[in-house]
Symmetry: C2
Subunit: 419 residues, 2 copies
Amino acid sequence: MTAIATSARERMLLAKDAARSVGLLSDARKRDALLAIASAIEAAAPRIVAANAEDLERGRERGLSTALQDRLRLDEPRVAALAAAVRDIAALPDPVGRVLDERELPNGVRLTKVAVPFGVVGSIYEARPNVTVDIASLALRSGNAVVLRGGSAAERTNATLVEVMREALRALGVDPEAIQTVDDYGRDGARELMHARGIVDVLVPRGSAQLIETVVTESSVPVIETGAGVVHIVLDASAPLDWARDIVVNAKVQRPSVCNAVETLLVHRDAAARLVPPVVAALREKGVTVHGDAAVARLADGVVPATDEDWAAEYGSLDLAMRVVNDLDDALDHIRRYSTHHTESIVTQDDAAAERFLAEVDSAVVMANASTRFTDGGEFGFGAEVGISTQKLHARGPMGLGELTSSKWLARGAGQVRP
Amino acid sequence: MTAIATSARERMLLAKDAARSVGLLSDARKRDALLAIASAIEAAAPRIVAANAEDLERGRERGLSTALQDRLRLDEPRVAALAAAVRDIAALPDPVGRVLDERELPNGVRLTKVAVPFGVVGSIYEARPNVTVDIASLALRSGNAVVLRGGSAAERTNATLVEVMREALRALGVDPEAIQTVDDYGRDGARELMHARGIVDVLVPRGSAQLIETVVTESSVPVIETGAGVVHIVLDASAPLDWARDIVVNAKVQRPSVCNAVETLLVHRDAAARLVPPVVAALREKGVTVHGDAAVARLADGVVPATDEDWAAEYGSLDLAMRVVNDLDDALDHIRRYSTHHTESIVTQDDAAAERFLAEVDSAVVMANASTRFTDGGEFGFGAEVGISTQKLHARGPMGLGELTSSKWLARGAGQVRP
């Protein structure tokens, strides 16, 4: 037990040590390192797929659901997609060294605030093995070392991916200790990672709401909270039918399993008779089950009665909760109570209502007349997405590479002292 | 016990509720609120001084040291200084609503990233009662509600200051619930504040290293860590004597009790014989006790032998640890081991050494040829200082009002959906 614990810690210390040299790598060297990783992954595809087959075999024996098996599976095309994603990250501009602020004191001391790597980025995540390569590449591109803790279901796959990435770094003369896994230390590894304050600079959990809650509650390392999305759309009194229908259907149906998909629809009383029947019909046509309150049920067919649990549900499926509200205040109250502060959108032609909604809703992304599916690092033009922060410290909303950097102030003087 | 706990929580919920209206106040209203607070504090000076006298009396009975009694004391001139500090904060530009980023998606959706208040700022701090007014004013100026937990030694003073500030807000029609204290709930109040995740958005501890460590370790609310400063100055081989002497004496002597005062001096071996004798003499002349290693002791008189504990000491007094190092690498190793990542400075005429030091030292502020005493929000031109962050998430180094804001993305569309 102690031996294991010591060893997970030692790996994290190796990462911390490697962070010094990785943090000083030039843009070109970091790009080359990622391109080498991409090629190494492609070349090692048979080895990766074989390791993944072992995980899948074990998963089947243990009764892993078909959905989870699919998330876990890496075949040759998926390995090729992994390598392509690494090349995309390699092509992004270096976030390190950006000048964030400049000042000159009256005494001539020059101050420059520059972006610097965090040092060591930790991540705790679940089965999907692409996260292993994704987080490691994002961390490295921004000059950070990384400590990974993936789900046990993908243990062999993740171990192989880490080996392949480390070999690629070693071959290039970049310190391979910059990529570490604590997977082989089981729960102790995760626990040590959450308590490695002073070694690991920031922890990014990725996975279920429960995983994120555990990390946020237990960790003494600063955490960037990502993910959970009980996302609302409000159809205001003046909402045009075509916008309302298109936005709601798009936000629910285009990819129901992701965090920016809408979960609850609030309809202004004055528009209910006009909008509820056609919007519900359009949703049902796409296979959506509408969980509605009594007012919704009166206006449309095939509505399942909603319970209080529906208002808090992050379905992740073709289900949608739907309520008629008295006015904008009522809608704002509902959102305040149930929102996870991810994304909310209003459909309206009333500029004052739109601006009030934008000002008063306390979420990472607040929209007027657009689909909530736009809350995405790729859509925002960040090129890659580290996650979507639903907290207020450091980063809020879609996070790009820049959010994996901190800053420091450089002061250049000529002997100045404080009077 | 439960009744008390419930009630501290209720105050925090009142703050959360008040945060909504305070967050929407205009620049002018927030400025007026602070000016009203300043006037109210001046008008209530006799009441504040009387409450403070009670705290002082109790402190004397309990054997509070004279130094702590002095920190606790509020006389009429100090109350006037408090009011003046609030007026300074009132005069600062509003950090809310600043446009931090703007983008237009190819489909025409306009994205604007704006600065918004956090919501509720919590602070846990020690005896100095000026922090009560300072944090409340900074929070309010940046559109936040605040929950305060001061030291029990200042309980009566803090309660009176909070009353006075709340009365000023009420008279102006601003929700007085925006300023809360949980002091009357004792340790339970502090504990509830540290676990009020979802109600309190950020916690800023101010006080001793031990207080900060407790908050960082225990809190599930995100913390901005401030303060501890084991600050280093390196005298490189090429350091000019006058710069070296002026900077070291200024950094140690000008105000030894603060976190940006130097604690350890590292002297390059090749400059030791030239610099150690006059620098030690200048320090001793100012009453500084030099705790030196054997090499320092050989070169100068009156040096107290340093132990390992000296390298980790944040003296806060006229004491300085001093060591001769073999070269810049040796100095960087020492700093890596003992620094609290606050501020370090090198004195050198070698540009390459300066740039290497600036790049490799992992601290909030890294200097070449300037006194570490410049690490200060006022000196940096921020107008006010929330604290000096020694962590890497959200804020690093001196924090101004802007660091008490988060951001959100506003998206304005015309019916766009994601293809």
